[in-house]
Symmetry: C2
Subunit: 272 residues, 2 copies
Amino acid sequence: MTPIRPVFIVSDHTGITAEIIGKSLLSQFPGEAFATESLPFVDSLDKAEDAANRIRDAWKVSNLKPLVFSTMTDAAARSVLEASGALVMDVYGHFLAMMIGELGRPAVPVKGQSHSASDAGAYHGRIDAVNFSLAADDGLATQKYEQADLILVGVSRSGKTPTSLYMAMQYGLKVANYPLTPENFEQPGLPDSLKPYMAKLRGLTLRPERLAEIRSERRPNSNYAALETCKRELDLAARMMRDAGVPVLDSSARSVEEIAALLRQSLLKGAR
Amino acid sequence: MTPIRPVFIVSDHTGITAEIIGKSLLSQFPGEAFATESLPFVDSLDKAEDAANRIRDAWKVSNLKPLVFSTMTDAAARSVLEASGALVMDVYGHFLAMMIGELGRPAVPVKGQSHSASDAGAYHGRIDAVNFSLAADDGLATQKYEQADLILVGVSRSGKTPTSLYMAMQYGLKVANYPLTPENFEQPGLPDSLKPYMAKLRGLTLRPERLAEIRSERRPNSNYAALETCKRELDLAARMMRDAGVPVLDSSARSVEEIAALLRQSLLKGAR
């Protein structure tokens, strides 16, 4: 059995950045076993000392040097963590020093800038975008399409809603989504509510087998979930998009984050 | 006028990790002006060469050495970026070397592990959580509360929905939310649908002025948005939570990420 190495995510704020970095790096060592503990809001020297003690304790128990991914804006608190002897990988400790060298001015250590509400404009923009995407989910509020940055089009359960919400949350984009139902295929061309917005339409598709699987979770043994139905709807949707010249993305083997990043890139390219 | 320094986010995958790190570090230099460009999916040496050329061009135009935040799993592609002469801050270049030293084994460079669908279990868990949170939004699907990891309770517009969705997306937690309406205050005690789930209830509150502001955006000059109404509802909600012993979080000056991280911490503490 592989021994389990302790991993700590330590931050003086939410720990979201440190968590993402840690996850990303740990995944490059698939043969190792890790036990991860998050210690967010470690925002005083006392709390840093507590964290360092927990790290030392875990080391004693496991007999393996712990890995620490951290975002500590305060240099003194970083030193407290480092004094634990663990392998401390702190984004500020390393990259901030590089930046200070290049920019020739000191950093202003403000905790958790990237995940706080302090940049009020950008922050409210993201919340507005989430509210927009909820309001314009599943073909609702087509009268608001003028305000949308992007309108996702696809058959039922093709991944439109999570993608819309993720893009709103991560990028502050107002993303509407429009489901293609069997009725939409009875008329030639795009549904009327979509026609004025060609530049911001993007299609989502996926493999029929995957769609059947997803639909079966919702309505097992239904006509809706039958492989034949899925194939037919996906074919008709693909033809509609191709005829109208709407770019289409296949979500089968992609995560929401990947689809979101690809869609955003395609919007930026379209705007150039 | 402060000269504008070019910043590049370069990744062989979505660039989400590099973007978060860059944002976090740049925010520590409030006096500087930056122009950020994202170059995701730089997944070949040719594309890395193109990226390096764009970086060189931006340097010529601005006359300031560009900053590059990157997540490039391939060492050769990293070298291509570094050959641009810009200040390249690559998470893999630095921290991965530290980890290899400690773990005593090579890394397996898999692109974008942290934002791909490759960890299928965890990934589907997150999508399931998003679907759950959508289904159990705004007091819907109370019959599913048994499955919830967390049930947020608060008056209308207290920030329950974005928080629920964020926690589902980020942490894979199934978060339901229940709005307290004036009718709920006519009966003593918690609403019946909440009573069996004390351990997973958390309240959200905010300053009445902020609530009135938010409600006014939705229904200007309404009784619903009046400061008096907001004060009364918040008071009644606060009393209900206090009497029932439900922990409450104030979202007034906090971002969704901060609230989410605090709530998660409070759930973990509750479980210990």
